[in-house]
Every structure is written in structure tokens, then in C-alpha cells.
Symmetry: C2
Subunit: 434 residues, 2 copies
């Protein structure tokens, strides 16, 4: 039997092109999905509730006569929370509290300063009025995602948070509803797919228009979000999840193998890569992978993910490992090092850095505090974890004194004439006194 994971050596001539090929991933454009989503958006935009009810009947096999029947009362969220085991309820509460505490530190505040001539400049920071949170139904329905999206919105001070979650044939996930209760979600509709995105983006007779839509979804949801962007804000459209582990051989090979599995178990497109300076340790991790894999309930998904997109890579040095990490710009980076701290600031591009052997990604996924919605597919080069700042926005404040208008007006006039915009120039000149 061939080993589960490929082995690469960063010192080989072809290494960088092999790595780039391994990283390459493009969501295929699917014309069938495009056309279906386009039609659904048009129908919901035109006929509102009626279209949402009809699509929910067709796709989720739920028959209702009015949108009101698709709204979950608060009592039902509370009941879901009460139905959990004490252990689960406490775990959700601890996670929510820690996520809240961490995100409180992300709030941005208004600021301003006064100039010598009395002019005041600054930015006024406000929360979004209303946000929509998409939660997938079925297999990928995660209560942790509800917390990670809802808590930052509430910390930001969003006025109303509306969750949508499909419940095919009426099947509800009590953990998801309990998480909504804990996170303080304001309203919940049991709708999903492109029709739910459309309802939130355009508003219907029953569902109010939101200002931004966040949360993960399938290809239909992703395409719908892409299309309504501009009408409302959206979060990033996420790609497959990724982990990169940098090891100096100081850790426990079983821990490393299990951390690779934890990424790979999401789905077969997930990517798990190890960069290690120690060839013998790589051998030990490879052996642990083979030994532990058969014990995993999701071993088939894990095996496919590791075989197709995983790699164990021997590197010359930790400097080389960091250079490769910055090229990969991974969603999750574990620094599985004896003395990890000095290496943190060498990492310029990563969604989250897990520092040291005890900072396993799973803690960050659930309860360490930082958000688990992170930039994928090299987008950590230019974007950030989901945060409170994604639910706040800034307005520039320009309060120019009479004296300030005299000096600035002359500068603006010269520049406006240079651009051939005479009304700009004259509107500034009109405020001049001489």
C-alpha cells in the first residue's frame, strides 16, 4: 500500500513549482448553478415572500401557507438550549463568553482632532443597522459558526441580527438553535439557499432588508452572495480550509498527525501540510498517520484529503519554512516549535498563528476566543479574520472653520482648476473672503 501523504523536499529544484501546483485551487464555474441562482434572485426580488415560500417547498420539502410559519419563535430557541446536556450547554456558554471577551478588544472607536485654525477632522464609527447570518443546514451545520459570526456582530452593536437556516423536511439542529439563543440572534427564519440570501439582500414583505450578509454556505449560497454584493455587504467567499504546521521535530508526532487529520476531516478539498527541519520526525509523523488513520470515524474523507492535497515537506531551516509559509499565506499556521515566540513576527501572511505545541487549532476553532472565520486560498496576503470591525463602518468628519476655509480653499481651487473641474474650484472660492 502506498503511503497516505506525499513527501517533498524543499531543496529540490522543482520544489516551488510542485508546491504551487499543490496549492492551486479554483472553484469551477458552473453555468447550471449560475442560471439557477440568477432566476431565484429575480423571483424573490420581484415577488418576495411568495417566491421564498415556493422555493422552500420545492428545495426543502416544507409546506407552509405564509412566511410567518417559517419564523422560529424565541421560545423555540430557548427550548433547544434547555434540551441540551448540562455539559454541552456549559461548553457553548464558555465558548461564547471567551469569544465575546476577545472580540470586545476589537471594537474601533470614533476619533477626531482639532487643528490650530479651529477645524476638526476625524472619523465617526457606527455599527451596521441590520445583519443577516446564513447558517447551512445538514452536514455542515455548525453551532460554533453561529457563535463566531453572531457574537462579533452583537459586540459591534448591530441593531438586528437575522439568522436564516434551512430545515429540510423540518429537521432542526438543536445545537445550532441553542447557539443562536446564547449569541443573542434577534430573529430566525427556517429558509436557506439562494432564496434566503435574496430575501435578506432585497427584503420581502416579511423579512427586512439587511445591510450585510455573513456566514458559510454551499455553491448556490456563495454564488448568490457574490451577486448581491453591492446591494449589501458580504464577508469573504471561503475556499477549502487549510492548515500549515511548521515543526522543528521537537513535538509529538501523534499530535502533529492528529492536527493534520483535524483539517483533512472537513472535506476532501481541505489541505494539510507539514514543513519540518527534521527528516526522522517526518518519518515518525508519516508512521503516525498510517497508524492512527484507521481509528478515525471520518477516515475516508481524511485519506482522500491527505492523498490529494496534503504533503510532508522537508525543509533546510526554520527561515526557509517561514519563507514558504509566507508564500502559502495559510488560513491556519501551527508553530510546532520548542521556542516558537521569536518566529511569530517572521510570519507576514496567515489567518491565525497557533504558537507552540499546546496551541492546537481545534482550540481556536471552538473556544480560545479568536474568530474561526479566516482568510483562505492565500487571501491572508490581503485580508483578515472576521471581526467586530466587519460590523462597524466609518464616516469621515470634515468640520472646517472659516479660517481653515481660507487656506484650504486656495489649495483646492488650484488643484480643481488643474483637473478641469471649475465648479469644484468655484465652490471653494466662494468661501474665500478677499
Amino acid at each position: 500500500m502506498s503511503p497516505t501523504m506525499r513527501r517533498l523536499d524543499a531543496r529540490e529544484a522543482e520544489f516551488l513549482s510542485t508546491l504551487d501546483a499543490l496549492l492551486a485551487f479554483e472553484a469551477e464555474a458552473d453555468e447550471r448553478i449560475d442560471a439557477a441562482v440568477s432566476e431565484i434572485l429575480r423571483a424573490v426580488r420581484t415577488t418576495g415572500d411568495a417566491a421564498v415560500i415556493e422555493y422552500t417547498r420545492r428545495f426543502d420539502h416544507l409546506e407552509v401557507s405564509s412566511m410567518a410559519a417559517l419564523e422560529l419563535p424565541h421560545a423555540e430557541l430557548k427550548a433547544a438550549l434547555d434540551s441540551l446536556s448540562v455539559e454541552q450547554r456549559e461548553a457553548l456558554r464558555i465558548a461564547a463568553d471567551r469569544v465575546r471577551q476577545y472580540h470586545e478588544r476589537q471594537k474601533i472607536a470614533s476619533w477626531s482632532y482639532q487643528e490650530a485654525d479651529g477645524s476638526v477632522l476625524g472619523q465617526q464609527v457606527t455599527a451596521l443597522d441590520r445583519v443577516g447570518l446564513y447558517v447551512p443546514g445538514g452536514r455542515a451545520s455548525y453551532p460554533s459558526s453561529v457563535l463566531m459570526n453572531a457574537v462579533p456582530a452583537k459586540v459591534a452593536g448591530v441593531g438586528e441580527l437575522i439568522m436564516v437556516v434551512p430545515t429540510p423536511r423540518g429537521e432542526k439542529n438543536p445545537l445550532v438553535l441553542a447557539a443562536a439563543a446564547i449569541a443573542g440572534v434577534d430573529r430566525v427564519f427556517t429558509i436557506g439557499g439562494a432564496q434566503a440570501v435574496a430575501a435578506l439582500a432585497y427584503g420581502t414583505q416579511t423579512i427586512p432588508q439587511v445591510d450585510k450578509i455573513v456566514g458559510p454556505g454551499n455553491a448556490y449560497v456563495a454564488e448568490a452572495k457574490r451577486r448581491v454584493f453591492g446591494t449589501v455587504g458580504i464577508d469573504m467567499v471561503a475556499g477549502p480550509s487549510e492548515v500549515l504546521i511548521i515543526s522543528d521535530g521537537s513535538g509529538n508526532p501523534d499530535w502533529v498527525a492528529m492536527d493534520l487529520f483535524a483539517q483533512a476531516e472537513h472535506d476532501e478539498l481541505a489541505q494539510s501540510i507539514l514543513l519540518c527541519t527534521d527528516a526522522a520526525f517526518i518519518d515518525a509523523v508519516a508512521a503516525a498517520v498510517e497508524r492512527l488513520l484507521p481509528t478515525m470515524p471520518r477516515r475516508e474523507i481524511i485519506a482522500r484529503s491527505l492523498a490529494n492535497r496534503g504533503a510532508l515537506i522537508h525543509v533546510d531551516s526554520l527561515e526557509q519554512a517561514c519563507a514558504i509559509a509566507n508564500r502559502i499565506a495559510p488560513e491556519h499556521l501551527e508553530l510546532s516549535l520548542e521556542t516558537p515566540e521569536p518566529w511569530v513576527e517572521k510570519i507576514r501572511h496567515a489567518g491565525a498563528i497557533f504558537v507552540g505545541h499546546h496551541s492546537v487549532e481545534a482550540l481556536g476553532d471552538y473556544c480560545a476566543g479568536p474568530n474561526h472565520v479566516l482568510p483562505t486560498m492565500r487571501s491572508a496576503r490581503f485580508s483578515s479574520p472576521l471581526g467586530v470591525y466587519d460590523f462597524q463602518k466609518r464616516t469621515s468628519i470634515v468640520n472646517i472653520s472659516d479660517a481653515g476655509a481660507q487656506t484650504l480653499g486656495r489649495v483646492a481651487s488650484i488643484l480643481a482648476h488643474g483637473e478641469g473641474l471649475q465648479a469644484h474650484a468655484r465652490s471653494a472660492e466662494m468661501r474665500l473672503k478677499s
Copy 2:
């Protein structure tokens, strides 16, 4: 002759639907542009420099044998700066300095905190490595836009800022090149259109791949940016520019008329709206519009913009005006009021608020300090002015102590089992001691 601007009354029954119709704007999808852009992106991605050179020959009528000939040496930027009048050079310098001073206050910093068990959580903030700045050629080639995009990037600490600007038939705009010199742009290529966006997004043999592309452009550029989003970051795709003026009748009607013109002169889709509590003042503004319009060099554009998209609206009260402003979420809002300050915080959604009679928008467009790249088409509901924060990104830091892994590991394990992710659970459990 019919008056240039329509008059509306916010107390009429049909007012809100009339307003919504006036605000409605959708960039038409153009299949010809889509197809052309798709082909250009493919060609540049596949053949790099050769495709860029060929498109530049075809669209900009510039014949060169190598990409090197399309790069402007620094000496040429310096020469453009030296060629300006002292007055223009000083105006550009003052504007750049003021924009820099204001934006210095926007820098976000890394932060972290330690918990009782020794765990450290935080965010590490870094600048983008490399940014592309698109500058249009021809009519809409504005040196002020170079400053407004380039200065925040440099303040953020972006490593390399690469500007692209088409120079059809070799025609260069010395003000634009001078602004690039003042702003500290690192490299300039005289290329434009979708081919320039593609070169920046994918990289070519000569042009390095960037991490984000900012700056305005025509429909081809906008479509190209939309398509490369994900491979690189982009700024917002801007719609027509807008101003909303709220007046209590205390100002000078000529100033208000000229401020409406300054918006309208951009192009005929630009939108200029006045909300005023004083009917007599509205009459005076309407008369000023008719009187001043013939004196404006760009009167034809202004007249079309005001006739098609402008309005003078009588409102009951300033409270009503603020409610309407929050519905419009204008790019620019002027509070043309005797005592404007108390009203600033009633405005929840606007790109920039210009406070009081002397805070004319033109000052903000050029030299007050705040950015003139602002959210349009109601997107101030969920987005912010361009700023230093758009050229920085955050990485979560998760440094969990041995003790922290004991408490958090139990919570993570419970939640991971609840989600059916056993490898997540076991990777946390492996760190437990008992």
C-alpha cells in the same frame, strides 16, 4: 423653459417611492464587455508581457518591443514635478502632507493580552507587501486620486506600490506623474485597461504580482477587478458620485447651488440632492441654479445630471431630513446648518459628513485630509472611506499555555464531538494530561 431641477415635497404620500426611483441606479451588465475582459485576462495570464504589449499596441496605439519600454523611470516623474508651476507644485505638496497627517491617525496596531493561566491572545497587524494602483488615462485622470490612493498605502507601510496609467498615443499627464512622485509611488507602468489589471493580479515576466488593486477605472477595468477578486484584494467598485445637502435655510443659496454643480459636473449620472426645511430658501437655490448654470464651462454635463438625477426637496424638519439621509446613505453629506454639530451623530450612514457652511465638499476632495474615495450607491450602510486600514491586515495570535490547553481542551472536545468532528476532538484531547 422648464427649471433645471425637479422639486419634491417629503410630506407628499408618494414621496418615498419617488425618492427610491430617483436613487435607483444599476450598472447595466454588458455582455460585450464581459467577453472582452474574460479574453484579455486569459491572454495575460497565459502569455504575460507579450499579451500586455499587444493590447497596449491595439488599444493605446503605443508600439514597443519590450515591457521595459512601458516602465517610466523615476527621473521622468521627478521631471514632471519640476515642470509644474510653483503654485501647482506647492498645492500638491500641501494636499499630500495634509492627507498623510490625517491618515497617520488611522494606523491600526498589533495588540495582545495575557490570561491568568499564561495563555496569550491577540492580533498581529502587518502591511500588505505589494499594491497596484490603477489610474485612468484621458478625461478622468486626476492627480488628487493618485494622492488619495497612494498616500494611505505608503502610510500603512506597503512594501511596493506599483502604479499603472494608460498613456494613449504616448500622451502623459504631468500632474498625475508629479502626484506619483510626491506620494512615493515605487514603479509606474504606462499600461491600462483590463490588461493592466490582469498584469497586476497574475504578474508577468516583468510586472510582479500584487496583493491588492485599488483605484478607479472604466467599465472594462471595473469588470476586470471584479473577476480577479480573490486572487488579489480590490477596493470597492465605485458607482456615480453623490452629494446630499441638508439645509435649514441659513446659508447662501449661491454656495448651495455651486456645491450641487460641483457634484453634477463629474458626469451626467452624478447625483445632487438638497433637503431643506425652508421653502423660500429652496426657491432662492433654484433661482441661483438657473442664474449660475450658464456661467459654468461644464454646464451641459451639469444640466443633464441635475435634470435626470437631481432634486430640491422640501422637508418638515431636520429630524425628517436626517431620516431621509440615513435612507439615502449618501457618499457626501453637507450639513449646511446654522448650528450643525448636534446633527452629526444623528447621521448613521454617510461616506463623509461636511459640517457647516465652510466645510464645502471640494475641500475634502483635495486637501482637507480625509480620503475622497468613499462608499457610493447606499454602500455607506456597510462600508467605509478608503483608509490606511485597507492596506493593513490582521493575523490572530493564539498562544495557549499548557494549563490553558487543559481547560480549553475539554470545552473544545465536547463541542467538536457535538459537530461530529472527531479528529478535532482528539487533537484537543491529546493535549490533556489526565
